[in-house]
Structure formats: C-alpha cells, structure tokens
Amino acid sequence: MDPVFLSRLQFAAATMFHFLFVPLTLGLSAILVYMETKYARTGDETYLRMTKFWGKLFLINFAVGVVTGITLEFQFGTNWSRYSEYVGDIFGSLLAIEATAAFFLESTFIGIWVFGWKRLSAKAHAGVMWLIAIGGNLSAVWILMANGFMQHPVGYTIRNGRAEMTDFTALMLNKFALLQIIHVVPSAVVLGAFFVMGVSAYHLLKNQHVDLFTRSFKIALVFGLVSSLTVAFTGDLHAVHVAEVQPAKLAAMEAHWETQSRAPIVLFALPDEEAGKNTWELGSIPGILSFLGFHDFNAEVKGLSDFPKDERPPVLITFLGFRTMVGLGTLFILLTLVGFMRRNRLMESPGYLKIMLWAIPLPYIAIEMGWVVAEVGRQPWIVYGLMRTSEAASPVAGYQVMVSLIAFILVYGLLGAVGFYLMTKKAIEGPEPTTELETV
C-alpha cells in the first residue's frame, strides 16, 4: 500500500467534502447579511423570519463545514510532513494568520449570533452577522493565499534546505492568489444564491409562504446574477494567467497536445494519455484557444507533447472538470438572466421554478470541478515547479493511512448523509409561522 497514493486520496476526499459546505457558508452569509440588515433598518418582520429560516440552514451547514475544516489543517502535518517541513516557513504562516485573523472572528461571533437574539439590539445583532460573513470570507482569502503559493510560488528563496520567506509583500500580491480569490469567493455566492433560489422555488411551487419566498428568491437572484457574471469575467482573467505561468495545466484543461499558433478549441475530446493525442475530437474551432489563453487569435499555445511525460498533469480529469465547470457557469448566467426577466412573474413561471429547484446541485458540481481543475491540473507538483507531490508525503506506514482513509470515508459518509437529511428536512419544513423570540 503506497502511502503517497493513499494520502492523496484521503486529502482529496477530505478537501472535496469540506468544500461541499464552505461555499454555502460564504455565499449564504453574504445573503443573510443583506436580509438581517434589511430587518434592522426597516423592522419588517418578514425579513426577521427570513433571516431565521435561512439562518437555521446556515447553522447546520456551518457545523459540518467547521468540523471537517479542522482535520484539514492537521493533515498537512499527519500526511504531508515533508511538504510541511519544506514550505512551512511560508505556507504555515498563512494558515496561522487565517486562524488568528479570520477564523476566530467567525467562530466567536457565530455563538453570539445564535445565543444573542435577546441580548443584543436588532442593529447590533445584524452587525454580528456582518462580522461572521467578513470572518468567513477573510478565511477563504487566507486559504486561497496559501493555495496561491502552491500554484505559483513567489517571495521565497531556497535556504537551509527549505523554502524560506524573503518578501511578505510579494506573497500578499501574488497575482495567482488574487485571481483565485476574485474567482472563488464570488462562485461561493453563486452557490449560495442558487441554494436560496432553489429552496424558495420549492415553496413557491407549493404555493406556501409566498411573500417570504418571493422576496428571498428576488434577493438571491440579484446576488446570483451579479456573481455568476463576475465569476465568468474573473475566470477568463484567471485562465489567461494560468496560460502564462502554468502552461501544462492550460494544455490539460483543453486536451491540447501539439504546440501551435492559432490553436483550436475542441468542444469535446477523448484524450489518450499514453499515446499523447486525442482518440477523437468533436467541433474543433481554430484560434479560440489562442484567444482564450492570450487574448490573441494567433498566439502560440504550448501543447502537452512539449512537456516531459513526468511533468504532465492527468489530462482526462482536468479536461472534463474544466468543461463541466465552464458549461455550468454559462448555464448559471442564462438561468439568472431568465429569472431576472421573470422576476415579477415568478408565480406564473412554474416551469422555471422547477428548473431552479433541480438546479441546486449544479453550483456544487461546478465549484468542486473548479477545485479539481486547480489541484489536479497542478500535478505532478505539490508546489508548482518546486516540489513534487511524490516527495511530499509523511514517512508513515501505508496501513495507517489505509485505516484512516477508511475511517474518513465512513465518518464523512455518515456525516454527509445526516447533514443532507437535516438540511432537506428543515428546508422543507419552511419558516416558523410567526416570530416568537422565545421559541427559536
């Protein structure tokens, strides 16, 4: 049993599971900030019921997100000790800053938010939700800063047999990290918005709590429209930067084998990684890949064949992941545009509401695929160009990792099932009939 392979599986499973919950925490906290601020400013009871209803779902989701996040911080030590030793000087400090400067804020104030309804004024209580949202999103910023270093290491030098920080400012201004931040944070808002729209659509289709859910839907619609456009725009910026600093990843995203100018994009292909070509391709449009990567139809795009075999990422997963993400991202823009045109006729649009209900899982798939493209596409490097994943694992016995991997799968499987059951149950139950502060 190869501990490296098992550790990779375990880390992928743990991260992807954690990342099922984090985006909703980020996105929904932003929407809750809007709802509760609206209540604090207008005193309109509907906004309070709305805040409490979405807040209930937020808290269940938050609990699973937090507990699965703690294991991630420690897995760098348990499973990736060579990596931790090599880049801890930089990577470790970014994680420590995340805990000290952001996660503390979110976790301390979440307790105050849950228990503080009667101890705080409406305005102060809404302010607490602001702090939760700020803390959560700042956490994401620091984690993406840390990931940005793995993607495109800057501000360091190799000294004493490890990477040591030389320039903190360069680390903070790492273009790769900044592009990831402006791409990932709004995509969490897309997910939160589609969640709110989907659950609202369920109740609107049942013709219950119409006022509350029409308003919820419309609020989320604005968040969803703006964020899905932002995600597409920043995704384009991000792809251009990837083309520049991670050409192998770009080539894998597009299953692009031969270096050429006026490089074509293929709508679909079946890459054969052994033979180093696509078995078949569908819909090849010349020049488009050059344009996407370099904003120039004639630019030369490096193909995978120009990279030694041991420096190519897995092509099929990266290629399919990217296709799925982009396809879904486009769909999100269309769906929110349709919604925007029908925003005042929601109750007369059952077809659209049905689609939005069934669309709830789609942003989850898209955001997970985005993570897959970023992480699988970075392989075989754990830190791009600096350290290989195969050199990074802990010197622990394979059987130990096997046992923990099985435990992760069992515990997380169970956790996921219970979390999903509770979220569904509470979402279907709908809001409390009236606002009684006494019986939250």
């Binding site: 269940i60 030590g77 470790g92 923990s404």
Partner: protein
C-alpha cells in the same frame, strides 16, 4: 529575548489557553451522562457552553497553526509521528461539534440518545488523549532523525502517559464542574458542586503522583534545578489547586473556576518550562530532538508572525472576553437554544 525563545513561550501559552478554554467544554461533555439526568439537565449543560465552545475550539487551530508557522519541523514531525492519536482526537472533535448542532434538530428520544453519546465520546476522548500525548511529549517520543516513528499507539499508554491522561481528564472535569456551578441552578447546581468537590479529592493525589513520577520518568526537573526560580510555576499551580477547594467551600464558583483555569495553565507550563528549549524530544535519539533553535522558521517569518500575533491576539482576547461577559450569569430555561 531571542525570537525563538519568545516563540517557544508563545507556543506553550497557546496550548495552555486552549486547554484552559476548551478544557471546561471537554469536562462538561465528559460529565454529561453522569450529571445530565433529565433532558432539561442535559440541555442546560450544553447551553452553559453553547455560545462559547466554538470560539474556544479555535485556540486549538491557532495552537496548531502557530506550531506550523513558527516551528514547521515540529509541526511536521510531531503530527506525523502522532498520526493515530491525533486523527482519533480530530474524529472525536468532529463528533462533538455536530452532536451539539444536530441533537436538538429532531425531537425523538432515539435521535437525542445518539448525539448524547456523541457529546460524551467527543469530549472524553480528546480530554484523555491530549493528556496522554502531552505526558508522552514530556517523556520523549520514539522517533529518529528522519522523523520516523518507532512505536505504536499502545506504547503511548505507558504508565506515565496514562497518568497524564488521567490527570488531564480529571482536571478538565473539575474545571467543567466549576463552570456548571456558576451557570446552573437547583438540583443540577447542587450535584455539580458536589461533583466538583469529589473531583478535587481525586485531582490532588493524581497531581502529586504526576509531579513525583515526572522526576523519574522525565528530565523535566533538570531545568528546575538549573533555574530554581522555575519552581514558582509549580508553586502557583499548587496554590491554585488548593484555592479551587477553598472557593468551592466558600460558594464562590467563579473564583473556583478561575482557580481551576490557573491550575490547568500551570500544569501545562510545568511541562513546557521543563522542556525548554526542546519542543519535541526524542527518547531514542536525543540528537533528533526538535528544539526552538533547530526547528524554527526563518527570522523574517518569526518577526512577521510576531507582529500578526501582537495585533490580533489582544483583539481576539478582547472580543472573546466581551462574549464571555455577555453570557455571564445563571442560565434560564427560556433561553435554551440547543
């Protein structure tokens, strides 16, 4: 003071604060099946720490993060050699966290019973294992200069390690019982006070035994004989432990809780002061031991992190104190959220 020395102290301090804050959460979770006779009792117990435990737990993440940032080699070797116990602790913490949130979501006895078990297992396991692991660190861990671990999970349960586990667990339960005495009323309050008294009687012999066993099983006292001023740490800890008893009898439960907090910080620093400058000693190859000087980050990282900590820790302490203050006083039945 040198950067590395400063960071060594901060490292110890963060672990101590984690044990002091989340310690009473662990203690209450461990006492949960014993003191929580009725559903209301149990909800009272959960709600007594409801607004605070989430923030308390972040001290663990910060202690881990700071170990990573300031002493990356310690983070790497410590957590990979303690692979099994650490993952067990993490799974337990997962269970505890979701149990708090899930228990009240469905009103069925069977459902609640599952999460009742979750709260107990999720609290008692870390309480015990943190003690076992830290006692073993005081004693030395069997790893070589390549960071390879030569042992297994059961070896951690050597007599000294087991004693450390028992001491930590009892201290956390005492600390938790003191908190319950502050927060609850009626029958639950009376039983909490009685339990605190009994736990104190158990803590004293365990503490004496641990102090004595440390002389034979570890080399912690070397530092104490070299710098006798360090004996003050032990003195403060012992006085604090005695004060716990005094304040319980006096019915000053907040002071009793404060004294048990000081005892926990003192007990942690008893080991930390003895270890200095070593953070993670090897029992098989002293040359492999990781110290503040051979395992630290670069001076630049240490300086930047010092700045971060200097700005944010006071801020965190300020808003957490504000939160503690907001939820001070006795719990009432109509403000139970869990």
């Amino acid at each position: 003071m040198e950067l590395q020395t400063t960071w060594f102290i901060l490292w110890g301090l963060l672990w101590a604060i984690f044990f002091m804050t989340d310690g009473f959460d662990f203690g209450i979770g461990t006492l949960y099946p014993f003191l929580g006779k009725s559903d209301t009792d149990r909800r009272m117990m959960m709600n007594s720490i409801g607004p605070l435990w989430d923030g308390n737990e972040v001290w663990l993440i910060t202690a881990g993060g700071v170990t990573f940032a300031a002493f990356p080699k310690v983070y790497a070797v410590m957590f990979s050699t303690l692979y099994a116990p650490l993952l067990i602790i993490l799974f337990a913490l997962i269970l505890r966290g979701v149990a708090f949130e899930f228990r009240g979501q469905i009103h069925s006895t069977g459902w609640k019973r599952i999460w009742d078990a979750g709260i107990f297992i999720g609290s008692a396991t870390p309480a015990l294992l943190f003690g076992v692991v830290f006692a073993n660190i005081f004693r030395g861990i069997p790893f070589d200069s390549n960071g390879l671990y030569h042992g297994n999970l059961l070896m951690l349960l050597n007599p000294y390690g087991a004693l450390g586990g028992a001491l930590f667990m009892t201290l956390f339960m005492l600390h938790g019982a003191n908190w319950l005495a502050i927060k609850t009323t009626g029958d639950l309050h009376d039983r909490s006070v009685a339990t605190a008294g009994k736990l104190w009687l158990l803590t004293v012999p365990l503490a004496i035994l641990f102090l004595g066993a440390s002389f034979f099983a570890t080399s912690l006292y070397d530092n104490y004989f070299r710098y006798p001023a360090l004996f003050l740490v032990i003195l403060v800890t012992v006085v604090a432990l005695l004060a716990v008893r005094y304040f319980i009898v006096e019915q000053s439960f907040f002071k009793a809780w404060f004294a048990s907090a000081v005892t926990i910080v003192g007990a942690t620093f008893f080991g930390i002061a003895g270890l200095f400058p070593t953070l993670y000693p090897s029992i098989v190859d002293p040359g492999a031991s990781l110290t503040a000087f051979n395992a630290s980050s670069s001076p630049l990282t240490l300086k930047i992190m010092l700045l971060v900590v200097a700005v944010f820790l006071p801020l965190v302490i300020a808003y957490q104190t504000w939160a503690y203050n907001m939820f001070k006083g006795k719990l009432t039945e109509h403000e139970l959220e869990y």
